[in-house]
């Protein structure tokens, strides 16, 4: 009986420890001290609530923020990792308000459910800058500005490149069959990238979108879906449009396992992808992925611009997109234009990959 009691108390103690670390409340007290220090030194204090560290992209996003808002640049950054939980983010924002930070930067985990806490920030007179995903709030004035990627433009760029590439290689009038391995349904990246492709398929009469299936942004699902698509459409598939790099890795594995080839050959399958992570670009260099459209995680500089203009008393644009590049495996296309703007196409070399931050 006694042993049981001891075991029980040990267990409860461990549980408490777990919950403490999970909430990150132990971090909170440390951060609070930091904020006090900074108000003395005259730095601009920025509270950043990050979603988590689920991918290389996210890590690069965090690093960009940390590098931009460093002590040397005259900032004090309070960084909070929410471990994919909205309640942690809400808690973090309330902490920021209590610590009277100058600006709050939020990378929201979901789009909805922010009204109350953003209202609290507004009442406290702290400007909120949203990065990456968008928030859906009843009143747009609850946040000052948004910085992120234009996913639909990414899709349009990819489609524009494909068209230019097909024209350049003399396949401009051939019948082209495309399959779309979508991201997690409902994610803004999925919606935008699918839209971009669908618009292009409507425009180009010789393009057929054979199938759309979700790969949920993961390698395992991308592989499973591609396996099945290959069985359904067999030799008909010309282009696989993967909505992120992980799906592309899975799709490439499935294609090679079925005895087909990825690349530019006559019967080969062209694999297109998004994100342009380091591993993704390595596959571009090897010619496995033909085109990788960047999804730029380096939001730091853009957010700093907004803060600077706010400090100067100016009103920044509500929606701001980060610059994004296009990376190709082949030289056939040098320039593409989407939405009336021209973009250079970068051919991937070892140099490009080694410069990559994520």
């Amino acid at each position: 009986m006694k042993i049981k009691k001891i075991l029980c108390s040990v267990l409860l103690a461990t549980c408490m420890l777990f919950s403490l670390t999970a909430c990150g409340s132990s971090n909170g007290s440390k951060d609070a001290k930091k904020a006090d220090d900074s108000s003395k030194s005259g730095n601009i204090t920025v509270g950043f609530s990050q979603v988590g560290a689920e991918s290389d992209w996210r890590t690069a996003n965090s690093t960009s923020m940390k590098e931009t808002f460093s002590e040397e640049n005259g900032y004090t950054l309070i960084f909070d990792d929410a471990q994919q939980k909205q309640e942690n983010q809400i808690k973090a924002i309330r902490n920021f308000i209590q610590q009277e930070v100058d600006y709050i930067v939020l990378a929201p985990v979901t789009e909805t459910g922010w009204d109350t806490v953003l209202k609290e920030a507004k009442d406290a007179g702290i400007p909120v800058i949203i990065v990456d995903r968008m928030v859906k709030v009843s009143d747009d004035s609850l946040y000052t500005a948004w910085v992120g990627s234009n996913f639909e433009l990414e899709g349009k760029k990819a489609a524009a490149w494909l068209k230019a590439y097909l024209d350049a290689t003399g396949r401009g009038n051939e019948k082209i069959n495309i399959v779309d391995i979508q991201g997690t349904i409902g994610a803004s990246a999925q919606i935008g990238r699918t839209k971009g492709l669908e618009a292009a398929c409507k425009e180009n009469k010789n393009w057929t979108l054979l199938a759309k299936e979700t790969g949920e942004f993961t390698q395992a699902k991308g592989q499973e879906v591609m396996e099945s698509l290959l069985k359904k459409h067999g030799d008909d598939i010309d282009v696989v449009y993967c909505e992120n790099d992980n799906e592309a890795f899975g799709a490439i594995d499935a294609i090679t396992a079925a005895g087909k080839k990825v690349g530019t050959g006559k019967d080969d399958i062209l694999v297109m992808s998004f994100d342009s992570t380091k591993t993704g670009l390595t596959d571009v260099k090897d010619g496995k992925i033909i085109l990788d459209t960047e999804c730029n995680p380096l939001h730091g500089p853009r957010v700093e611009e907004i803060i600077k203009s706010l400090e100067a008393g100016k009103e920044p644009d509500k929606k701001q997109y980060v610059d994004e590049e296009v990376f190709a495996a082949v030289k056939d296309v040098a320039k593409i234009s989407a939405d009336g703007k021209d973009y250079d196409v970068t051919v991937v070399t070892d140099d490009v990959i080694s410069k990559r931050a994520y």
């Binding site: 267990l11 890590t59 349904i185 199938a211 299936e213 395992a220 099945s228 069985k231 359904k232």
Partner: protein, 358 residues
């Protein structure tokens, strides 16, 4: 099983425990005869078996392995282990992290494969033992007890992988999720079959199967007749943990990486569904491993069927839900009783032998 009886003893077949699960699986498969005639074609392509059916059996492997563990846990404790997906992620993280020697990506093995696999399985067994201790020794509700690892497990996996996806790009590691040498059968199938055979042997050759059932039906009565019911419950959780660990290793080998966020995601729900589809009572007691195995294959057959029918990704869950509702209703005791009554009435009227009214 009872082929020779088939012609005259309908009743014995329809009343067999596995009759309904098998019928459900066949119904799901038969839809394809009409919609996708080439569903059943199995050929050799690129030196390996190729076809939708191969995909079903291959992709269901992890689910089969986990469903076996889930069946035992359900039978003994009358509750479910919802941490299996998270335990898979932990095992995968341990395995990949050891193989990569702590690096994010590796092209050669830093430690021996045996060490990594054994360590991963031991960690998974410890997770199972933790669950088992909470349920069997402390008498906590299984779903509440396993909720701890359900939430904490992925966090632990993230800690192990330092929040990154650890890649192990080594041929010998890919074998477990791919193919052994020139063998045309995917390796995960062997894992699933081995798990089925070993667990069945253990249950049949020892009295463990009987003990589990008796503990599940009435724990106190079993204790009174001299069974250590605490130990038996504990044991089922450890077995479930080990099986989850094996499934996690297979899943990570498929994508030669440890994706802490996505490996085994939502698999606990599928595993519970497999147990239910297999005709097992979720409140414990009598159980059938084969039923759960068939249930697992049914779920994967459904997924692959929907891919083959080109159902668009946003509607996929609806179709799945409809089929699951139908299957569960067919198997519900109330429905079966009313069908039996209806049949009796008909038999009285016609005074004729009954026919398969299901």
């Amino acid at each position: 099983m009872s082929n020779e009886k088939k012609s005259f003893n309908w009743k014995a077949i329809t009343q067999h425990r596995l009759f309904l699960p098998i019928v459900c699986l066949l119904v799901v498969l038969l839809v394809n005869v009409i919609k996708t005639p080439n569903f059943f074609a199995v050929s050799i392509k690129n030196g390996v078996l190729y076809g939708y059916l191969v995909d079903v059996v291959n992709r269901a492997s992890e689910l089969v392995i986990v469903a076996i563990g889930m069946t035992l846990v359900t039978a003994a404790s009358g509750g479910q282990d919802i941490s299996v997906g998270a335990v898979m992620a932990v095992a995968a993280a341990v395995c990949c992290q050891i193989l990569s020697g702590g690096q994010v990506s590796t092209n050669e093995l830093m430690n021996s494969m045996a060490l990594a696999i054994i360590a991963a399985i031991i960690v998974a067994a410890i997770c199972g033992a933790f669950n088992g201790f909470l349920v069997a020794n402390l008498g906590i509700q299984p779903m509440v007890a396993t909720l701890i690892l359900f939430t904490a497990g992925r966090g632990i996996a993230q800690l192990i992988t330092k929040g990154q996806i650890t890649y192990v790009r080594v041929g010998s590691f890919k074998v477990m999720g791919g193919y052994i040498g020139k063998c045309p059968v995917p390796t995960p199938i062997f894992f699933a079959i081995a798990a089925i055979i070993i667990v069945n042997l253990v249950l049949k050759k020892t009295a463990l199967g009987l003990y589990i059932e008796s503990v599940g039906i009435n724990g106190s009565a079993s204790r009174l007749v001299g069974l250590n019911s605490t130990m038996i419950k504990f044991l089922t959780y450890v077995i479930c943990g080990i099986l989850s660990g094996i499934a996690g290793i297979v899943a990570s080998s498929r994508i030669y990486s440890a994706d802490a966020n996505n490996i085994g995601l939502n698999l606990e729900m599928d595993a519970i569904l497999a147990v239910a589809l297999g005709g097992n009572v979720l409140s414990g007691g009598k159980f059938s491993i084969m039923g759960s195995v068939i249930g697992a294959y049914t779920i994967q057959a459904l997924t692959t069927t929907l891919y083959a029918m080109n159902v668009s990704a946003d509607q996929l869950p609806v179709y799945k839900a409809v089929v699951v509702i139908i299957i569960v209703v067919i198997q519900s005791p109330v429905f079966r009783r009313s069908v039996d009554e209806w049949k009796k009435k008909r038999a009285l009227k016609n005074n004729k032998a009954m026919e398969g009214g299901h």
